[in-house]
């Protein structure tokens, strides 16, 4: 049995589980059975993909299979290569941990019969997209994935917000699929070669390649959350149950990245240099705008969704760099940039899943998503808070955790940019580097806010005061992810070597072998240029921290008294006097928000002697929503209003309308030839 067949069997197992779920969803033990089955299936798929990826260095793999499904003369093509194997590792590892988490978390679900059937179906859809090797199968799987996730967003459809999120999601998903359909139509050409193998061999004119790139940015970009197509994401991702939010944010956006890489790096062999500029600018802008909106958000899950937009921006910026280097024949630098992007894909799936699991745990324990009603959870939920803290540190790109390793690689790739021949790129790349540094710093500020307001301080509501630690399944899933964040951060060389087959197959070059470097350092180009050793940084910090703690406790006074907080002599009794999510964001809001988000603050201060309370009002305007989407909505409404009259015509007018349409079509046909 070839690996591709084995993976398709796993997908079949997911689909079978989904059907089983429809049958048994209302029984008491359904949750346990369905999530255990998903856990086993994704575990097997993960193991197969990992073995394939690790053995890919020995022999280049491409295991193909054609099933007699789909269009009659075409069949459904599936193929497993290094790129697909890597993304399957990402998807199925997250699927495995989400199933484990859901074994505990899913028990609190009050509408289990609306979640259980679609969860395995969603996993199956993502696996199929990655395995697909022809345009037809790819698009069918893509739609299947979108619909399954839409159903999960609508699981709690009685909530009006969720209905709105679901509506926006399905509109954007259909739009994205339409763009992908057109892109594949262009790639297939006049002969209609729907197989990826034929597309890979074809030579495209620069204009076709450019058009395909733009269409892909619409198609894959709308699914991944690239600005300005991101508006649905912060509504839809948090609306689903938390383990599904983790999959949608941590993994489904990665499937979109996969689609982009598959077409732009694999099917179109030679990109134009300006394609790098477009992708770079979109990536940099997306990163800053995403994290800025996250900073201003008070809803925990929606904040995490906005932060996903930032990470997608970082990934796309690295991909843009890789495109620019590849177009100029700088294979080694392109491999470095692509490795950075793929490393960040892996990292983001780790820490974003972890953070969504943590948000789910908070939701279970308190029933609250609004951070301004939380606080002090570090005392009530010790394990969750440690795991969540690890996620916060990792996503803020701080050493020695994994987020820093991929960010560092991105910066190393940016430092290769002076060798680029085009002036536009030369100047743009350092500017985008500045944007990425800004977004990393804003991310750190944002996650100080998240952890500080949610877990530290004093509880702001009775629900937060009485929170209890969550079940063992959830805690295990979170702890495993936290450990993975640390491991990938201190042993980045192993990940880089694991990614080598992917860059080798897409670019034709790879980063130097990292396993041979002593002390497990990573060296992207040469040791005199730059090197980083996560393990040593970790051990070095651990050593000096324990040495200090030992010396202090040995020689200094060890006495400790508990007393009320000092607070400059004015202790406030009311916990609402603490800094909350909104007040923490105020300086950043004032500095960065006035331009892009049109933040306006107004203080209504009564004159002395007046007994009215003083009021602070904050107005924000999302310029993208108001400038881009509202006009479209208005135009569609206007057109619909006008066309509405056509419903009430007399039979004579209908006939003349048909006649005119016929004449018009015949004219077009006559002029065409």
């Amino acid at each position: 049995m070839t690996p591709a067949v084995a993976l398709l069997m796993c997908t079949a197992a997911f689909l079978g589980t989904a059907i089983l779920a429809v049958a048994i969803a209302r029984s008491n033990w359904a949750t346990r059975v369905i999530y255990s089955a998903s856990l086993v299936a994704s575990g097997v798929a993960f193991a197969i993909a990992l073995v394939q990826l690790s053995s890919a260095g020995v022999a280049p793999l491409a295991s193909t299979i054609i099933l007699p499904l789909g269009l009659p003369w075409l069949g459904a093509h599936f193929r497993l290569d290094a790129l697909a194997a890597f993304f399957l590792v990402v998807v199925d590892l997250a699927g495995l941990l989400a199933s484990l988490y859901a074994l505990g978390y899913g028990r609190h679900e009050h509408a289990a019969h609306r979640v259980l059937p679609f969860f395995p179906a969603f996993l199956a859809g993502m696996n199929l997209v990655i395995l697909a090797d022809d345009a037809f199968t790819f698009l069918i799987s893509w739609e299947f994935m979108s619909l399954a996730s839409w159903a999960l967003v609508m699981a709690h459809h009685r909530d009006a917000d969720n209905r709105r999120a679901g509506y926006l999601y399905i509109v954007m998903a259909s739009f994205g699929t339409l763009a992908l359909l057109l892109a594949f139509g262009l790639l297939a050409g006049a002969n209609g070669n729907y197989g990826f193998t034929a597309m890979r061999g074809a030579a495209y004119t620069p204009s076709t390649a450019g058009l395909v790139l733009i269409l892909l940015l619409f198609g894959a970009g709308s699914k991944a959350g690239l600005v300005p197509l991101h508006v649905w994401l912060p509504l839809a991702h948090p609306a689903a149950p938390s383990h599904v939010s983790a999959l949608m944010s941590g993994v489904m956006t990665k499937v979109a990245v996969y689609g982009f890489i598959r077409v732009v790096f694999d099917l179109i062999a030679a990109p134009a240099w300006w394609s790098g500029i477009i992708v770079l600018m979109l990536g940099g802008g997306t990163a800053v705008l995403g994290i800025l909106q996250a900073m201003l958000e008070t809803d925990l899950k929606r904040l995490l969704a906005y932060s996903t937009i930032e990470n997608i921006g970082v990934i796309f910026a690295s991909l843009g760099l890789a495109l620019a280097f590849k177009a100029n024949g700088m294979e080694l630098a392109a491999a470095l940039a692509l490795t950075a992007a793929l490393f960040h894909v892996l990292n983001h799936s780790f820490f974003k899943s972890l953070l969504f699991f943590g948000a789910g745990a908070v939701l279970t324990a308190t029933g609250e998503r609004n951070m301004d009603k939380l606080g002090g959870l570090i005392h009530r939920m010790p394990v969750t808070s440690i795991a969540f803290l690890v996620g916060c540190v990792a996503i803020s790109a701080l050493p020695p955790f994994n987020g820093f390793a991929s960010e560092w690689l991105t910066f190393q790739a940016i430092l290769e940019s002076p060798a680029l021949p085009q002036w536009g790129l030369k100047i743009l790349v350092p500017a985008v580097g500045g944007l990425l540094a800004l977004s990393a710093a804003l991310a750190a500020a944002c996650f100080v806010k998240v952890f500080g307001v949610t877990f530290l301080g004093r509880p702001r509501s009775t629900a937060a005061e009485q929170a209890l630690e969550v079940d063992r399944f959830s805690l295990t899933a979170m702890s495993v992810l936290a450990a993975l964040c640390l491991l990938a951060g201190i042993l980045p060389g192993i990940v880089i070597d694991g990614l080598a087959p992917v860059t080798l197959s897409l670019i034709g070059d790879r980063m130097p072998v990292q396993a041979d470097i002593p002390w497990l350092s990573i060296v992207p180009i040469a040791e005199s240029r730059s090197s980083y050793n996560g393990l040593l940084v970790f051990l070095f910090t651990l050593f000096s921290a324990s040495l200090t703690a030992y010396l202090i406790h040995r020689f200094a006074s060890r006495r400790l008294r508990r007393a009320p907080a000092w607070d400059c002599g004015f202790p406030e009794i009311n916990p609402l006097s603490q800094y909350g999510a909104g007040s923490f964001a105020q300086p950043v809001r004032r500095v960065f928000g006035t331009l892009i988000l049109r933040v306006r603050e107004r203080v209504d201060m009564p004159v002395p002697g007046d007994l009215r309370p003083a009021r602070l009002t904050v107005e924000t305007h999302d310029l993208i929503w108001e400038g881009l989407y509202l006009p479209i909505v208005g135009a569609v409404g206007f057109a619909a209003e006008k066309l509405n009259h056509l419903q009430f015509l007399t039979i004579r007018r209908y006939l003349s309308l048909v006649f005119l349409a016929l004449v018009f079509l015949l004219l077009v046909l006559a002029l065409w030839s």
């Binding site: 050493p399 940084v537 200094a556 006495r559």
Partner: protein
């Protein structure tokens, strides 16, 4: 044998930075006092303060969590590791290739992350005020710092500090406008990062003006000692950083022997003294600015960093 002597040199470097840091703070304070026509405390007053703090009880707020108690050690350790990697009297120490300039900045970022969290732990409004302002300043300082690093990396072809220092001593550097601009940007970032005038006032306890002090308001005893030591270590780190990049004279090469090390040592002490004196002079000559003027200050640093990078491209193509 070689490894042991290399390790010993590294250990000496670690001990050196910790022992010198309070002296540097004391020196700056004394000099500032003299410039203001005051007598000022003695040079070794910071050591006395630290010892006294170490002898005192810790008074811990009732709802402080484990994070509040762990944070001082973590902050100190991370700053210490970053300071140990920066070349002070010699380049090419054994751990210098553990992290490059980007990683050193990120390490300081970790220290700031935990300091800001500790500020929010007790749940007072002052702590949150300090944390949110500190993170705002950091979001502006970090991109400026990165652009300075870009400029340096483009000139020296490396982000490794030892390599940069070695390159800067070589004759091919010459006088470059970009480097001058980068130096100014780096100094501005250093002032902001170290909570010095005009961005923040290290001596203030006035609520409206404080940033760093507001975060550490609830600390006492040995915890406060670690925070104070980490703060002066960070100041020493930035002065050493500027010194090793822009005035890398008499830096001993790898395993150069005791004589070269001694020369490097004296040169390093002289550089620290000059850096501290300039800082004291600057701080007495300026007034602290409003918190929302800081973005303009750091925005200027950002523009300078970008300008340095662009000038470099232009000068290269000519």
């Amino acid at each position: 044998m070689v490894v042991i002597s290399a390790l010993l040199t590294q250990a000496f470097q670690m001990a050196l930075v910790v022992l010198l840091a309070p002296l540097l703070s004391g020196f700056i304070r004394k000099l500032k006092a003299r410039l203001l026509r005051r007598q000022g405390a003695s040079l070794i007053q910071p050591y006395r303060d630290l010892l006294r703090l170490l002898r005192k009880d810790v008074v811990l707020a009732e709802n402080a969590s484990w994070l509040f108690r762990v944070a001082p050690y973590l902050i100190f350790a991370v700053t210490w590791v970053a300071a140990a990697i920066i070349p002070t009297f010699a380049t090419g120490l054994i751990f210098s290739w553990t992290a490059d300039l980007i990683a050193i900045i990120a390490l300081l970022g970790s220290a700031r992350f935990f300091l800001a969290l500790a500020g929010m732990d007790v749940g007072t409004s002052f702590g949150g005020l300090g944390s949110s302002r500190e993170m705002m300043i950091a979001t502006l300082a970090e991109p400026s710092m990165l652009l300075v690093i870009f400029t340096l990396a483009l000139v020296a072809g490396s982000t490794q500090l030892s390599t940069i220092a070695a390159f800067m001593t070589s004759p091919e550097v010459g006088l470059r406008v970009s480097l001058g601009i980068a130096l100014i940007a780096l100094i501005m970032v250093a002032i902001a990062e170290n909570a010095r005038i005009p961005v923040d006032n290290p001596a203030t306890h006035l609520e409206l003006t404080m940033v760093h002090e507001a975060m550490v308001l609830e600390y006492s005893g040995r915890h406060l000692a670690m925070i104070e030591l980490a703060a002066s270590l960070k100041l020493l780190l930035y002065i050493s950083l500027i010194a090793c990049i822009f005035v890398p004279w008499k830096l001993a090469a790898l395993a150069a022997g005791p004589a070269a090390y001694a020369v490097g040592m004296f040169a390093y002490l002289a550089k620290l003294a000059v850096g501290g004196a300039l800082l004291a002079l600057f701080e007495t000559a300026t007034a602290k600015m409003r918190i929302f003027r800081v973005p303009e200050f750091l925005g200027a640093a950002l523009m300078l960093g970008l300008l340095a990078t662009l000038l470099l491209f232009v000068s290269r193509s000519l």
